[in-house]
């Protein structure tokens, strides 16, 4: 077993143990895992040197899909997650067709524009979408078993851990693949990519699709954890937060996404209760220090030990 997978396993066990010992941890841990999935999605785009200021829209779309279908048909949680992710993926595929033409700030801002349209529409058509208060839905069955909150959360947590592992593996695999490498090449030289006969747009579309799907998965989990979706889920601040976490955790590896999401969740939680009124400042300072001390994020700090063989590139 490689050192990396050993560490991952240890982390998973630690999380499982901690939540068993302190049940309140389930909420922040679930939220961190949900965020981590979205962050993993955003990391895919960062590979191509692009940041989206609007990717929370896919989490939001998935969340609303979960809420709508849960209210209308009382589907099972597993099905809801699948549906939410599917819808986000389809949306990503469609919006992606449009987005692949843009780079840099134009890409970032167009995503923001789309997300803001979604955000306002959700807020304005209160009759259908519940307006800014959002949509609440009852706890669905999980695997067709009806459960109390504790049981449901435990099950959801288990599922979230599995999904995070699977997503992390898939993203890593994608990065290593020819497609993933071509995606990374978009960052440095699209002209050359075209002159190799590779369509930068198509490659980027694939990356966009993957990132939308991961954000959708994260959003579905988030919605199920809260039992409530609000337009806030798709607000640009959320999108910014996700990028923030990606840098904090390190964008070179999906593990960084999850590390970042956990650190962010808990730093924010404790900063908010210890430094009431100054938690933003605390987070900001942490980020500035990170950029100077560890520009490759937390994962970058530890990666040399985790991946001795992969060398400088990881």
């Amino acid at each position: 077993m490689s050192r990396l997978s050993f560490v991952v396993l240890a982390l998973v066990l630690a999380v499982a143990g901690a939540t068993a010992a302190a049940p309140w941890l389930k909420t922040p841990v679930l939220l961190a895992l949900a965020n981590g999935l979205s962050v993993a999605g955003v990391i895919v785009l960062i590979r191509a040197g692009q940041v989206s200021f609007g990717h929370a829209m896919f989490a939001c779309l998935a969340g609303y899909t979960v809420a709508f279908t849960a209210r209308a048909w009382h589907l099972d949680a597993l099905l809801l997650i699948a549906l939410g992710t599917l819808l986000a993926t389809v949306a990503g595929a469609l919006i992606g067709v449009f987005m692949v033409r843009y780079r840099g700030i134009f890409f970032g801002m167009l995503n923001l524009a789309f997300s803001m349209v979604l955000f306002s529409v959700l807020g304005k058509f209160g009759g259908v979408t519940g307006g800014t208060d959002g949509l609440r839905f009852d706890r669905p069955t999980f695997g067709f078993v009806a459960m109390e909150r504790e049981g449901f959360e435990t099950a959801l947590l288990g599922l979230a851990l599995l999904l995070a592992l699977a997503a992390g593996w898939a993203v890593q695999r994608y990065f290593a693949s020819a497609n993933g490498q071509a995606l990374a090449a978009i960052k440095t030289n699209e002209t050359r990519l075209e002159y190799l006969g590779i369509s930068a747009k198509r490659v980027f579309w694939g990356g966009y699709l993957l990132s939308a799907a991961l954000c959708g998965l994260g959003g579905s989990l988030f919605a199920l954890t809260q039992g409530l979706v609000t337009p806030e889920m798709g607000y640009w601040v959320r999108s910014g937060e996700v990028v923030f976490i990606a840098i904090l955790g390190g964008s070179a590896h999906p593990l960084g996404a999850f590390i970042g999401a956990f650190v962010f969740e808990f730093v924010k939680l404790y900063a908010a209760s210890l430094l009431t009124g100054a938690w933003q400042m605390a987070l900001g300072l942490v980020l500035i220090v990170m950029v100077f001390v560890a520009p490759t994020g937390i994962f970058g700090l530890v990666s040399k030990r985790l991946l001795p063989a992969a060398g400088a590139k990881a």
Binding site: R173, S177, A178, A185, N189, T191, R192, E194, G197, I198
Partner: protein
Amino acid sequence: MNAPKGLLSTRGLSLKFGGVIAADAIDFDLMPGERLAVVGQNGAGKTTFINICTGYLKADGGQVFFDGADVTGQSPRAITRLGVGRSFQLPQVFTEHTVRECLLLAASAVHRRPGGLWRPLAQAVNADEVDATLELLQLMPRAHDLSGALPEGQRKLLDVAMALVLRPKLMIMDEPTSGVSSDEKHDLMAVVMKALDERQVTSIFVEHDIDIVRRYATRLAAWIAGRIAADGKPDEVLRDPVVIKNVIGE
């Protein structure tokens, strides 16, 4: 109009940049198997001609044919897929990939194994081809360096290698040897030309070094102010007084 016979042909290619005529109604045919050297004044439009033929620039008028098909206005990607490889005057490499990864990526565009795009890059393509090319262009010692850290000359070699690995039918090289140090230059050309010959690749190379032109070209075209001023056997063109006056000098 019937497609011309050449592997690469143009008819009436014209392009102006503001007041500058970069291509002036160029008619041109390249036959399979030729090794065409292009010399010319700086700013005569050599790069522009290549840019139009490979789809990077849209001409104001005229047509481009490759291998019997009209490719006017097609994208660089489409034209590359038809079998045109190109290297650049300013090397175009993936600066955050290692030299080897750059070549693997290039290879993945053509020599992919079944289902390859989802497999790790190193396994998705035929690595022998890549390693052979690395050897050929003497880049092996640098295989694991980031290509962004290469000095200009080696970046140039990598740029050529990336086109070569595509196994094109036509290889267009824009000043492959400028910036490559003199003692390596001839070796480089010898190696590249040998590789092209072995694979029966037709080639165009822009070159300012007359020695190299003499040694490797089977045909020579001289560009002056957006047109082809002379075209033919290298020694004939090199004796052309207009070319001597405007391009080669005494």
